[in-house]
């Protein structure tokens, strides 16, 4: 092998770069947080699978309907009707933003677009 020293350094750097996910967690990995679900309710407005994957889409649609189209009733897939409101419908059961929303959102690093206009219940409480 020619230029063995340089080649070995190159290989080491290459392997270190592509195994970043494996060593970046060493000694600092934290347990996966669990969102706190409301205890007294068994069911959200849609199925669990749908809410887990599509809740942001639902909230986005709600925003468009409530603000731009003046529609305030949402008919769920099982036919039940809900009032379109983040604070009055969603946050009535999921009443803790930090323990419900933030625990997952911080974990997967996705940014919520809600709280630049809405006020979380715990923040509202502090100001009352």
């Amino acid at each position: 092998m020619y230029n063995a020293g340089k080649v070995i350094i190159f290989i080491v750097v290459l392997i270190l770069f592509f195994t970043i996910p494996m060593w970046l967690n060493l000694g600092r990995v934290e347990a996966i947080p669990k969102p706190e679900l409301p205890k007294d309710k068994a069911k959200c407005i849609e199925s669990k699978e749908y809410m887990r994957a599509y809740h942001m889409k639902l909230l986005d649609d709600w925003r468009k309907q409530a603000i731009r189209e003046n529609k305030h009733v949402y008919v769920a897939k099982d036919g039940e009707k809900y009032f379109i409101s983040l604070q009055k419908t969603c946050m009535k059961c999921h009443n803790n933003k930090e323990k419900f929303c933030d625990s997952c959102h911080n974990f997967v690093v996705t940014h919520q677009d809600c709280w630049s206009c809405h006020i979380a219940p715990e923040v509202a409480e502090k100001w009352q």
Partner: protein, 351 residues
């Protein structure tokens, strides 16, 4: 023809996870065994290729140059176009790897009647740089799914990439748009331009289809066919920490398609044209300084040849020389010089 075959192979690859997970329910195979095996093939394959390149002897110094080489002190030499030392080689290489400097010189050739006309053509460079940089940023950005307290550098990169909030929720990633633009151009170029199409093989189209497939499934997952990101991160974090788990929550099939295509790309990478990622560093036309006149480059496969110095030769034929009246050089150097010749041993010298 080439397009058709590579697209067909791509479609088959697309169907494998669709059937494997969607119909047969082999989640465990597709989220643990296949990614690990493919990643191992990727690393081992690249190291194998590197060792192979590093073992190849380099008989000549062959840097490609397009500038004045270093010669007399009063002639200005081009440090980047004709690097003389390692530092200048590194400079040239950095610009080549990060900004595709030689591609920027790309020309187009067209026939106008009987005249061959050369002109500037920067589109290939633009498409290539959009694709490569976006791909790198997307790759690094994905670390948010592989680390648990996500390092702030990666959070910052993710934030910068998605800072445009004008197109609704979720904010669009700039690199998503740019990589699709770049890849579409690179693909259309091969399909539309007859000259490029003529020299395109299946192995040129296939990586484009594969990467485009990865990008499109990823983009669809973000904007349309939503998947449970929380469950995905449980899975990816498990892979990174060597505690693979199949999450209880159901993840959409599109995620398995995405993951499978990425695995295929990783396994395919070292044995295809994509290996230019490391190959560029082993290009003798790029990684050598143009200093032929200052440093002798010894062909490594040359072997020392038995030879006589003039003094030895003279000693051997002294008597005959004296008899023939040929003058004897008493000051001929006796020491032996180490030198090489293209002649093999005992070929031209009868020793």
């Amino acid at each position: 023809m080439n397009v058709g075959w590579s697209f067909l192979i791509f479609l088959v690859l697309l169907l494998i996870p669709w059937v494997g997970v969607g119909v047969l329910g082999l989640q465990g195979l597709f989220v643990t065994v296949i990614p690990y095996v493919c990643f191992l093939i990727f690393i081992v394959g690249l190291v194998y290729r590197i060792l192979n390149w590093a073992k190849s002897p380099q008989p000549f110094k062959i840097p490609t140059t397009c500038g004045q080489q270093k010669s007399l002190p009063w002639i200005k030499h081009s440090r980047l176009e004709s690097p003389f030392n390692t530092f200048e080689v590194v400079l040239r290489m950095v610009l080549e790897v990060l900004f595709f400097r030689s591609l920027f010189r790309n020309l187009r050739a067209d026939l106008q009647g009987k005249k061959l006309i050369y002109g500037s053509a920067k589109w290939l460079w633009l498409g290539a740089i959009l694709f490569h940089w976006s791909f790198l940023i997307i790759l690094i950005r994905h670390l948010r799914l592989f680390t648990n307290p996500v390092p702030s550098v990666i959070q910052f990169l993710d934030y910068m990439d998605s800072f445009i909030h004008s197109f609704g929720v979720p904010p669009v990633y700039i690199t998503d748009i740019l990589i699709i633009a770049g890849l579409s151009f690179l693909l259309l170029r091969r399909l539309v331009d007859a000259k490029v199409s003529y020299i395109s093989h299946g192995s040129d189209y296939f990586p484009l289809f594969l990467i485009l497939g990865i990008v499109i499934t990823g983009v669809l997952m973000r904007y349309n066919l939503k998947v449970d990101v929380y469950a995905i991160k449980q899975l990816t974090l498990g892979l990174a920490t060597f505690k693979p788990v199949v999450p209880e929550a159901k993840i959409g099939t599109i995620f398995y398609v995405h993951l499978f295509l990425v695995s295929v790309l990783a396994a395919y990478f070292p044995f295809s044209k994509l290996a230019h990622m490391v190959g560029v560093f082993f290009s003798p036309t790029r990684n050598m300084p143009n200093n032929n006149r200052a440093d002798m480059h010894v062909n490594p496969w040359n072997y020392p040849v038995k030879h006589l110095t003039y003094a030895e030769w003279q000693e051997r034929f002294r008597e005959a020389m004296e008899n023939a009246g040929i003058p004897i050089d008493e000051e001929a150097e006796k020491e032996e010089h180490e030198w090489y010749t293209i002649y093999g041993p005992n070929k031209n010298l009868n020793l």
